[in-house]
């Protein structure tokens, strides 16, 4: 009896070893890429755009060839609830439990900055398509991004307010509890005061995430005599701020940032937002070539024009796949492969993205142009001006 038991145990153990070996053999033919995106929470449309873009990519290219071997692509979408702590948890889980080769996301700087730390600590390549805060990639060799930075966007906005809107005094209203608005508000202030002298930003009003009433802040701005208000906020807050401004009798221009272009801004804001300007990554109206092909396919699939998040996610994914191909072959040892992908990413030259060509700097940031668009009377984002880094 006892011999039988020992035999059974040995048999089971052997069976298990073989099963695991079989699973491992299967796993070797798949490349997993994780998505750390907000499917619920304060910015669900950002997550939806990212997911749409990724699924469209997967449908088009479900397999990739690396070093003469064909792999199945697998995407794992995980919800970071638009919270910093959940983004950290999601990244950790994707890396340690799911064994992903690389991560796309998080999109917003508030989540990308802390999640970038996790990716870098675990030596896993990560590309944030949409995070413009410098801290996301700073001193993190494993972290890249697909867009321009706020130290560039801030001066673009300040120059635009000066040249095109002939503003001499500016006001800013921003969420102090989120990395992106806070950083950009400060870069704008520095740039504007650099042009017009200290004190030319006459009102620098802040609030905290989740606030709905901006009437008190707008009253301060009204009384400050500003010529323009800079609002570096997301699509869910912009309508409330713009409404508060109009109710206080504000008739001067309002200037936004690249966060305006995402989600359902026009659906929520409607007529209130028409006639205002914002800086962004690309203008869908009037696009050409590859960009147009992407826009057309996306529109046909999902019934809406892709926002900048969708376009940048497409490019970030393209970069990640290109880097994996450039490694010239994967070893199967996930840790070594991650490092290989990171090295390949860092050396990519002139990647032809639909939002512009990309070559990474030593910090993992691409040099890209910004586009200023005007929201026209039809509610479309109309190309107004393009500004490139010198």
């Amino acid at each position: 009896m006892r011999k039988f038991s020992v035999g059974l145990v040995l048999f089971l153990a052997a069976a298990m070893v073989f099963t695991f070996a079989a699973i491992d053999a299967d796993a070797a033919d798949t490349i997993k890429i994780g998505f750390n995106i907000p499917l619920t929470g304060d910015n669900p449309d950002v997550g939806a755009s990212s997911k749409n873009s990724a699924e469209m990519y997967l449908k088009k290219k479900p397999k990739i060839e690396v070093g003469g071997k064909s792999y199945d692509l697998t995407f794992i979408f995980d919800d970071n609830e638009y919270k910093a702590e959940s983004a950290v948890k999601v990244s950790t889980k994707l890396i340690t439990e799911e064994g992903v080769l690389g991560i796309i996301g998080p999109q917003s700087s508030s989540q990308a900055v802390p999640a970038g730390d996790v990716a870098n600590n675990y030596a896993t390549p990560m590309i944030s398509p949409w995070s413009t805060n410098p801290n996301t990639t700073l001193d993190r060799p494993y972290v890249f991004r697909g867009c321009f930075l706020d130290p560039f966007q801030g001066p673009v906005s300040a120059n635009f307010a000066t040249d095109e809107l002939s503003a001499k005094k500016a006001a800013v209203i921003y969420d102090i509890a989120a990395d992106y608005p806070k950083g950009l508000a400060e870069f704008f202030k520095a740039a504007f005061e650099g042009i017009h002298g200290p004190g030319s930003v006459v009102a620098f009003e802040s609030f905290t995430t989740g606030d709905k009433d901006f009437s008190a802040q707008m009253t301060n701005i009204m009384m400050s005599g500003a010529d323009v208000v800079f609002v570096p906020q997301y699509y869910s807050e912009v309508p409330l701020i713009v409404r508060a401004a109009k109710e206080m009798g504000w008739t001067k221009p309002i200037l936004g940032s690249d966060s305006w272009g995402s989600g359902d801004l026009m659906g929520l804001c409607g007529d209130d937002c028409k006639g205002y300007y914002f800086s962004t990554h690309y203008a869908a109206a009037g696009a050409k070539g590859e960009t147009k092909a992407f826009i057309d396919e996306y529109t046909a699939t999902y019934g809406k024009t892709p926002d900048d998040v969708a376009a940048l996610t497409w490019d970030a994914l393209g970069l990640m796949i290109q880097a994996i191909k450039n490694t010239g072959g994967l070893s199967g040892d996930i840790k070594a492969d991650r490092t290989k992908v990171k090295d390949a990413l860092a050396s990519i030259q002139n990647f032809p993205g639909i939002t512009g060509g990309m070559t990474f700097t030593a910090d993992g940031d691409p040099k890209k142009c910004a586009v200023v668009v005007k929201i026209n009377d039809a509610g479309q984002f109309e190309f107004f001006k393009s500004v490139c880094p010198k």
Binding site: T40, F204, K212, L240, M248, G249, L268
Partner: protein, 321 residues
């Protein structure tokens, strides 16, 4: 700091405070009758806003929009408010029946926790059914901004404040001049003995929830008109703050809840200009984001000196409506 500036903020505060006041009423009424705080009340405000959205969109599709409209906007608004109040009252009744009635003999903590759970259930069902995206509340009436000597007032602001005060007066009439109101007051006085003399406790409790929820629904629709972006979690912080107003007014005091609601709105709004003045006078650099910290510290100080709230009574067993 001009008079205009003060007046402008006063008007902002009136609008902001009326939401707190309407929601705080629901907390206070339930507390007086059943001696428990319905922590799902903030989420019933959210549900009311979404029901209002559904009703408004339904009415708009029935009666047309813009130039093709059959009925004027204000009539649609009145209909939206009334229908939504009616529908949300049923949500309140269901919450009472399912969540609170089975726990009436249970420890108070169980009932409070149930309230929190119902709140989470309402939020997550919203995400499940509507997908969690922000929704825009339709603007049933055209927004008009008046400039009265440098102070900007919109027709909506005036309407919101008037409708809120009207609803509060209607509630006052109901409580002090009807038989149901008398039953509610009696129950608030002593909910152990009063049912023994034939007052139907369950009916009164259900009615209290219904009225509180209807008021929250009205607040939700007015909120949608002023701040047209709805999200599933909009009731959470509102619920907390209205709860603070109910405590500040004195647990179970209806008048206290109204006054404290407006007061809370006033403190919150006025903190921003006050910070600005402080910054100028003492050349500091404090941001407006410290609004809640300062506003709620003031509330804390008030409560230290008046622990039973502004209109509360020390004998918790003898609360009056």
């Amino acid at each position: 700091m001009t008079l205009n500036f003060l007046m402008q903020n006063l008007i902002n505060a009136l609008q902001w405070g009326s939401f707190y006041a309407l929601i705080a009423l629901g907390y206070s009424m339930v507390y007086s009758i059943l001696m428990l705080f319905n922590f799902a009340h903030g989420d019933i405000f959210m549900v009311g806003a979404y029901i209002g959205l559904g009703v408004a969109l339904g009415l708009l599709s029935l009666f047309g929009t813009g130039a093709a409209a059959i009925l004027p906007g204000w009539l649609l608004l009145v209909l939206t408010i009334l229908i939504s109040m009616f529908l949300t009252a049923f949500v309140g009744i269901i919450v009472e029946r399912v969540g609170y009635r089975p726990l009436r003999e249970a420890p108070r903590a169980s009932a409070a926790i149930t309230g929190l759970m119902i709140g989470i259930i309402l939020e997550t069902s919203n995400i499940l059914f509507l997908g969690g995206s922000r929704l825009k509340f339709p603007q049933l009436i055209q927004s008009v901004t008046y400039n009265i000597g440098g102070v900007y007032v919109t027709n909506k602001k005036i309407m919101i404040v008037l409708v809120s005060i009207g609803l509060m007066l209607a509630l006052h009439q109901l409580i002090s001049h009807t038989k149901w109101g008398m039953a509610m007051r009696a129950m608030a006085y002593d909910y152990v003995v009063v049912p023994l003399v034939g007052v139907p406790m369950n009916t009164i409790a259900a009615m209290t929830f219904a009225i509180g929820s209807a008021l929250a629904a009205a607040a939700g629709i007015l909120f949608g008109l002023a701040y047209p972006v709805l999200d599933p979690y909009m009731g959470v912080s509102f619920g907390w703050k209205a709860f603070v107003a109910a405590i500040l007014g004195g647990r179970g005091s209806i008048m206290g809840a109204c006054i404290a609601g407006f007061m809370l709105g006033f403190i919150e709004i006025m903190t921003v200009p006050a910070i600005q003045i402080m910054n100028r006078l003492f050349s500091l650099n404090i941001g407006s984001n410290l609004r809640d910290l300062i506003a709620y510290s003031i509330v804390l100080v008030i409560l230290i000196f008046r622990p039973h709230g502004l209109f509360g009574q020390a004998y918790s067993a003898k609360l009056r409506l």
